[in-house]
């Protein structure tokens, strides 16, 4: 009787030990591999009124590598075009000129926006869903779940895609917060240590010293071109460019290197847009 019990108990023990040891092997395997914890989605507050252009582009990059989950496919593994390695503005122009292109976009910004919200409108050769002959894209619509980027976030991503290769950011910059966010001039105080944005174009022009050199908003200065009819001469992108990159296009009769190159960096995005809008409306002949 005792012998049988011991034998039975011995078998049980050996089996248990063996099983536990094997389980230990698997446990060790899991614990010796690189330990990475997934990031829980966190809502971040961004004070858009205080956002500078660089900040906007940086926001776009954060979204590109974070909430947008773009790098999941857009990398060098061949599953989707490697956006970080490609000049997206040049690529956009090529695609717009492609006879296969069936979308509604006419500019680079529109094309980039369209490829975010309706990826299947144009699928780059070789990246379509299997069997669809490159007519259906495996990319999800970025403004829908599960990614659900809003307009501002999408524009930030587009801004990043444009700026990363040195191109001008031509996407409309946010000058107002989305519906559910408070106005900075209203009740809620803006985040600490951020500049208070100018509330009117005239205030912005004065704040950034435009009136010191240009004839505009009451000033008669002649150091720089007269801006009182600039809206009749230049369009919005050109006006924006001459603020962001003053030496890119010099007006006749004026010298390069006079206008500070970093004026736009000191402006908030809302101020820049306000000034551009205001200047567009200056058509002279008062």
């Amino acid at each position: 009787m005792k012998k049988r019990f011991r034998q039975g108990g011995g078998v049980l023990l050996r089996v248990l030990l063996f099983s536990l040891l094997l389980t230990l092997v698997f446990t060790l395997t899991a614990n010796l591999l690189p330990q990475v914890e997934g990031e829980a989605p966190v809502d971040r507050e961004i004070d858009l009124a205080a956002l500078t252009l660089d900040g906007f582009v940086a926001l776009g990059e954060t979204i590109f590598k974070g909430k947008g989950t773009c790098t999941l496919c857009h990398n060098d593994m061949g599953r989707a075009p490697d956006i970080l390695a490609i000049d997206m503005v040049e690529t956009a122009k090529e695609h717009l000129a492609d006879p296969r292109y069936r979308g509604q976009a006419t500019t680079v910004t529109e094309y980039l926006h369209e490829s975010l919200v309706d990826p299947s409108v144009y699928v780059v050769r070789g990246y379509g869903k299997k069997g669809s002959n490159d007519t259906i894209s495996p990319m999800p619509a970025v403004d829908k779940a599960p990614i659900q980027l809003n307009e501002v976030e999408m524009n930030a991503v587009i801004a990043f895609m444009e700026a990363k290769d040195g191109h001008e950011v031509s996407v409309p910059l946010p000058d107002s917060l989305p519906d559910d966010a408070p106005e900075p001039a209203g009740g809620e105080p803006a985040a600490t240590a951020t500049p208070v944005a100018a509330q009117s174009p005239e205030e912005a022009l004065g704040k950034h010293g435009c009136t010191a050199c240009h004839a505009i908003a009451g000033s008669e200065a002649t150091l720089g071109p007269d801006l009182r009819s600039v809206g009749a001469r230049l369009d919005a992108p050109a006006i924006r460019q001459s603020i962001v990159d003053p030496d890119a296009a010099i007006a006749e009769g004026y010298d390069a290197g006079l206008m500070p190159a970093d004026i736009a960096d000191k402006m908030t995005v809302s101020e820049l847009e306000m000034i551009v809008d205001y200047l567009l409306r200056q058509r002279g002949g008062q």
Binding site: V11, S19, G38
Partner: protein, 625 residues
């Protein structure tokens, strides 16, 4: 003399037709009453004389039979109940235990029925005895399944009440169908087991087989219903973007992932069940000294292992189909699983499947010691082992390594120049398919080892078989290397189907050719029980690895939803809405595996307890008279 009455032989088939017809008719309509009637309740109960009746009495706000349009709840962190420990961990353990046992109790009746039927066909009573013994084990497991199911329901309602409210709102009456089916399951289970000896021979045996068939039909239906909940969470169908139900219950159930999960779980259950029974047999073998008992349990272990390995072989393909459907539904979800944060889990999976295949093969090789006819195949074993180990090493090699900036500079990138290419799918597919082909080879050699061919075309048959193996292997390697590394993505992905079909060809051809070639073959003596004790440990390795693997794959399936309760429809804002580290996940899997092991040992013990009879001691017998 067993003359089988002709009419009752057709009973099972008749029942099958009736059951399938019945189910297909009742299931959608019982569970989905949304489209039941075009007339409203008011119209249907309207009194003949409508004159003096107040119409507002008969115009309820929500018409009976219609569902309220309820979008998925949008929860904040504060909305989640907390009991002081991680809710995710609690539900994880209970759910996984429930799944282990549910898989077991669904699987056992499946192969028990087949074994019982083989017993009828061959007239060999060993099969019937084994079938009955397996059912005995399953009975205790059934109550444990139910206990964990109930506990799971409690845990889910306690910790995720709004989610459960939403889920049950979506699945509506079907949830009740699921609950009521358990009455049928229990009824058939108890009747099937307890009537075994009463319905042992002739006509009655066919009735018994029919009962088994009904048991399996109900069990499979339960599986399919539960699968719908899980696949709805991953790839919702029949609802709009905000979660409002827009389709019938059938549309809700039949999402893109439903059938792949159905197939995968059905087959995996059988493999798992076989593995656990194999462990039971191995345990009894090691505990017995009586050579007759050892022979019985050796044979039982072999049969169980046969079931486990044979059902295991198609599993990678079923899993691949599931993965392909996930990619088709959402490339993002697919890449999260295999190319993103969860990718390392598949390296762990490689370790587990390597264990399973090596253990299964080792058992087969060891088993060849039972028959002298196996000696002619011994020389092949080292090559099979070589291919298995080599393929396993390839499979376990990762591609993208998580490195620091310095490490990346030293390595020259985020993957190794030479070994990196072994980390992507084409190499892995080659490895898997080769492992499966060579495992089947072990299988086939074992099956042949106790027979000597007598057919005239044996030479051609063997030449054909060898050619199929050789060409299939070449095809698998060619498809993987050429399309995998030298063509574009779509061809690369498509080439995996070539590999799968090649492997399946080997398996099907092997089975067919052998069954034809061994007609009238001379049987060589097989000594059941003449196998090493060491080999029995392979039969323990199998269920341990299977269990851990089930936990691993279940974890992948769950976490691929990332921070969503119902993907794209209901966000997860609980404190656990992040993917934990792989070490943490591994520890959880170990906990559930060890728990399961302990429960299973309990079940084995209870199963043998019923056979024990305490002899009446002498002093109770009225003394020395």
């Amino acid at each position: 003399m067993n003359k089988k009455p002709q009419l009752s032989r057709w009973l099972p088939l008749l029942w099958l037709i009736l059951a399938l017809t019945g189910l297909s008719l009742t299931l959608p309509s019982v569970a989905g009453a949304a489209d039941v009637s075009a007339t409203t309740l008011a119209e249907r109960i309207r009194p003949v004389d409508a004159g003096g009746v107040r119409p507002e009495l008969f115009a309820p706000e929500a018409q009976a039979g219609e569902r309220i349009a309820m979008p998925a709840p949008r929860l904040k962190r504060e909305d989640y109940p907390s009991i002081g420990v991680s809710s995710r961990s609690v539900v994880w353990v209970i759910a996984q235990m429930h799944l282990f046992f549910a898989a077991f109790v669904l699987a056992v009746p499946l192969f028990v029925l087949v074994i019982e039927w083989i017993g009828v066909r061959t007239g060999d009573p060993r099969y019937d005895d084994m079938a009955r013994e397996c059912m005995k084990i399953s009975m205790t497991a059934y109550s444990i399944t139910a206990i964990f199911g109930g506990t799971l329901a409690f845990a889910l309602f306690l910790l995720y009440p709004q989610f459960m409210g939403y889920l049950f709102h979506v699945f509506d009456r079907q949830v009740l169908v699921y609950a009521f089916l358990f009455f049928a399951e229990s009824a058939f289970l108890y009747i099937y087991y307890y009537s075994w000896q009463a319905l042992r021979h002739g006509n009655r045996k066919w009735v018994h087989l029919t009962l088994g068939l009904m048991l399996n039909t109900v069990g499979t239906t339960l599986l399919l219903i539960a699968n719908a909940w899980v696949t709805f969470m991953m790839a919702p169908s029949g609802v709009d973007a905000s979660g409002v139900v827009t389709g019938s219950i059938w549309e809700i159930m039949k999402g893109p992932l439903w059938n792949p999960i159905n197939l995968h779980r059905f087959i995996a259950n059988v493999a798992f069940g076989g593995a656990v029974i194999g462990a039971y047999a191995a345990y009894k073998f090691l505990s017995s000294r009586d050579p007759k008992l050892r022979a019985h349990y050796d044979w039982m272990g072999y049969t169980a292992n046969f079931i486990a390995i044979l059902s295991f072989l198609p599993l990678p393909f079923a899993g691949y189909w599931l993965m392909a459907e996930i990619y088709a539904y959402s490339q993002q979800m697919g890449i999260t699983a295999m190319g993103g944060i969860l990718a390392w889990l598949f390296i762990v999976q490689a370790v587990l499947i390597g264990t399973i295949l090596l253990a299964g093969n080792y058992y087969l090789w060891s088993g060849m010691s039972r028959t002298p006819g196996a000696r002619r195949y011994y020389w092949l074993i080292k090559y099979i082992a070589l291919v298995l180990v080599g393929s396993f090493l390839v499979w376990v090699t990762p591609h993208t390594l998580i490195l620091s900036a310095d490490e990346m500079k030293t390595l020259g990138g985020n993957s190794h120049k030479l070994l990196g290419p072994l980390g992507i799918m084409p190499a892995k597919n080659i490895a898997v398919n080769l492992m499966l082909i060579f495992t089947f080879l072990s299988f086939q050699l074992f099956r042949r080892s106790d027979k000597e061919v007598t057919v005239s075309w044996a030479g051609f048959g063997n030449a054909l078989m060898v050619s199929i193996y050789v060409v299939a292997v070449v095809n698998v390697v060619f498809a993987g290397v050429y399309y995998g590394y030298f063509t574009n993505t779509v061809y690369k992905v498509g080439s995996s189907v070539i590999q799968v079909v090649s492997t399946l060809t080997v398996i099907v051809a092997g089975v067919v050719i052998d069954s034809l070639m061994f007609r009238g073959a001379r049987k060589l003596p097989t000594t059941w029980g003449q196998v090493s004790n060491r080999a029995q440990y392979a039969l323990f390795a199998l269920p341990v690895a299977f269990t851990w693997l089930m936990a691993l794959m279940g974890y992948v399936r769950s976490s691929v939803r990332t921070h969503w309760h119902v993907y794209t429809v209901m966000k997860d804002n609980s404190p656990d809405n992040y993917i934990p580290t792989i070490g943490h996940a591994g520890n959880m899997m170990t906990i559930v595996t060890v728990l399961f092991l302990l429960f299973v040992l309990f079940i084995f013990w209870v199963a043998s307890l019923a056979d024990k009879k305490q002899p009446k001691p002498a002093f109770l017998d009225g003394g020395a008279a």
